[in-house]
């Protein structure tokens, strides 16, 4: 560990961040695996498929970020835009 890393709060050191990513990915996989064991009772059709909530969450969030980004191209202005009022 070099000196630059040493001076940082333990939570933001590279090692910790790497550990957090690994732990996070492990939790995500466990949650999907848990789908094998829970008794699913879908309200409609597609929400009973394997890991539905996982991929649905991932996809719609990616979709919303991209949509926001696209909208931003047209609607974003410098934050001094209204300053002359």
């Amino acid at each position: 560990m070099n000196n630059e890393q040493q001076g940082k709060h333990w939570l933001v050191r590279q090692d910790t961040v790497r550990l957090l990513w690994r732990g996070g990915l492990a939790v995500l996989s466990l949650l999907v695996i848990a789908d094998f064991f829970v008794h699913a009772h879908p309200y409609f059709q597609i929400d009973g498929t394997f890991g539905f909530y996982a991929w649905f969450g991932l996809l719609v969030c990616a979709g919303m970020v991209l949509f926001a980004k696209a909208l931003g191209i047209f609607l974003k202005r410098k934050d001094t835009y209204y300053d002359d009022e």
């Binding site: 309200y43 719609v60 926001a68 974003k76 202005r77 410098k78």
Partner: protein
């Protein structure tokens, strides 16, 4: 009037005017005591109508009490107490007075048994909330509060005209569920929706609330929109149009919050998003949905106040509010960070927090009613809430890069208020029965099933995964995003200015042309007559005039003789 049926809202409204005459030392007794007295009064109210005063041919019912109005009044009182605790460091007396009148009038709306009383408190609420923003002082807050006030005056006018039409139509002033089959009720709905920050007049919220003081914004987040949810819940349950309006509000809130850089404006957009869930639930209109809306309004007020308290703490300690200026604050503000995370988890309806037990009732109602599209949209929205408020807000304020700022946690009163509200968020998440027993309809819903918990965790954690995968796309920029207020801040003024300048030019041209023609006409006439021989300029000698007068008089005399 017995003490037990004294209108609870009036305690806060009348008490507000004692605040300025109370010394600084004893002020906390008043600001913490009054909400508790109000809460005691609310809970001692039996069902029924009290405090009835005649007004001309009508009756003003100041207190109409049932489980729904008591639920909202309860959370409004708790909110006032927690907010007052948080605001103990607030030195501006005007803000405190305004806040108490504001909270009291919101409780007044909740207990109003007839439309006239409702309107009176509705307008007091508009004026008082404007003063909360205005009390900050300076040109910016003046401009913002006037925009805010104009929108609410417009909404109030719609409501007033609607109420008058409704009274003329039905002959009754009672405030009950209405059908959308006449102009009166449509205008009443429109007036309510303005306060709920529904489109197209939604930008007033994200425009005004972030300009209030660190404590003022906490109060503002609670009352106006939730009082609107209450009146919609009572007046228009099952109105289908609300489903579409609500869904729009949900996604509008998410998208704009994703684009936003100001931490408190992120939370303001997220209010619109959360109220969207409630408006959708009101539109669905089943007992399950309405219970869910009432429960969600309750939990939302607490966790949104908590989030704004943590943002207010950052603002109070650093004076900064833009995500681009913040980051890394968790190192020196651990308590604020934890409280903000608890609020963020609650708004995302994480298991064991208050949002989990309330929001899922609304999506369950959509599933029970086989509203397939609505259910999928609500699920997508739940994921989006975690994205824009659950992670984005704490991440960019307390983590992301190290801004180098090392502010400490705020003073004890602010810390205590945050701990109290964080405790309520978790308490309600663990023991939902407390809230469920206060809901308007009996509850059979069981939020904690293994399937539900696992599915919700999948949905939320994978949304979080998406956030960190796409982090490079989310980098904060020094920008704002144009919203509906652009129409009345830029387009209408520009159009009006141009229109008036065109009208001005045309008007000037016409006047000039007319004057020129008049001038020419006069010149023409005067030219014709500028010689002594002209028709109008011949000169008669005075003697001949006297002669002719004598002739006329003689003729007159002659005629009077021969008659």
């Amino acid at each position: 009037m017995m003490m037990s049926d004294f209108p609870p809202g009036l305690v806060l409204i009348l008490g507000a005017f004692l605040i300025p005459i109370m010394g600084r030392k004893f002020r906390p007794i008043l600001t913490l005591g009054l909400p508790l007295v109000t809460l005691a009064l609310v809970w001692s109210l039996p069902n029924g109508s009290f405090s009835i005063f005649p007004l001309f041919d009508y009756q003003l019912v100041f207190v109409h009490s049932d489980s729904l109005s008591r639920l909202f009044a309860t959370v409004f009182s708790i909110m006032t107490f927690g907010g007052s605790l948080y605001a103990l460091k607030q030195k501006r007396v005007l803000e405190l007075v305004a806040v108490f009148v504001y909270a009291g009038s919101a409780i007044g709306v909740v207990f109003a048994g007839d439309l006239i009383t409702l309107f009176i408190f509705w307008e007091i609420m508009a004026v008082a909330s404007t003063l909360v923003v205005l009390s900050v002082g300076g040109n910016l807050s003046y401009q913002v509060s006037m925009r805010y006030f104009l929108v609410h005056v417009f909404g109030g006018t719609l409501l007033l005209v609607g109420i008058l039409a409704h009274i003329l139509d039905s002959g009754s002033t009672t405030f009950t569920a209405m059908e959308l089959d006449n102009l009166g009720s449509i205008l009443i709905l429109a007036g309510f929706l303005v306060n709920a920050a529904a489109p197209p007049l939604s930008a007033w919220l994200s425009d005004a609330y972030p300009e209030a003081s660190f404590s003022g914004a906490v109060f503002l987040s609670a009352f106006t929109t939730k009082a609107a949810v209450y009146v919609l819940l009572r007046g228009f349950p099952g109105a289908e149009v609300l489903v579409f309006i609500g869904i729009f509000m949900i996604f509008y809130g998410i998208i704009y919050a994703l684009l936003e850089n100001d931490m408190r404006r992120i939370l303001a957009y997220s209010i619109v998003n959360q109220v969207g869930f409630m408006v959708t639930g009101i539109g669905i209109g089943t007992e399950m949905a309405l219970n869910g809306v009432a429960a969600h309004a309750f939990t939302h007020i607490i966790y949104k106040a908590l989030l704004l308290m943590s943002a207010g703490a950052v603002l109070y300690m650093t004076g900064k509010r833009k995500c681009t200026d913040l980051g890394g604050l968790f190192q020196s503000m651990p308590l604020t960070t934890i409280c903000s995370i608890i609020g963020a988890l609650s708004i995302s309806s994480f298991p064991l927090t208050s949002g989990f037990i309330s929001k899922s009732m609304i999506s369950q109602a959509a599933a029970d009613d086989s509203l397939t599209t609505i259910w999928f949209l609500l699920m997508a929205a739940s994921a989006g809430v975690f994205l824009h408020a659950g992670i984005k807000f704490p991440w960019f304020v307390f983590f992301q890069k190290d801004s180098g700022l090392r502010p400490s946690d705020p003073p004890w009163s602010m810390r205590l208020a945050m701990i109290l509200f964080a405790g309520i968020c978790i308490g309600l998440g663990i023991w939902p029965e407390f809230l469920y027993s206060m809901l308007p309809y009996p509850v059979t819903y069981q939020p904690y099933t293994v399937t539900h918990v696992i599915h919700m965790l999948q949905l939320l954690l994978f949304s979080g995964f998406a956030f960190f995968l796409m982090l490079p796309l989310m980098r904060r920029t020094l920008t704002i995003t144009l919203d509906f207020d652009w129409f009345y801040r830029r387009l209408f003024p520009a159009v009006l200015q141009n229109t008036f300048s065109v009208i001005g030019r045309v008007d000037k041209a016409i006047r000039l042309a007319f004057l020129e023609k008049l001038d020419m006409g006069l010149t023409f006439i005067s030219k014709k007559n500028n010689r002594l021989s002209g028709l109008l300029s011949r000169n008669y000698p005075a003697g001949s005039m006297v002669l002719w007068v004598a002739v006329i008089l003689a003729g007159y005399l002659f005629i009077s003789f021969i008659r």
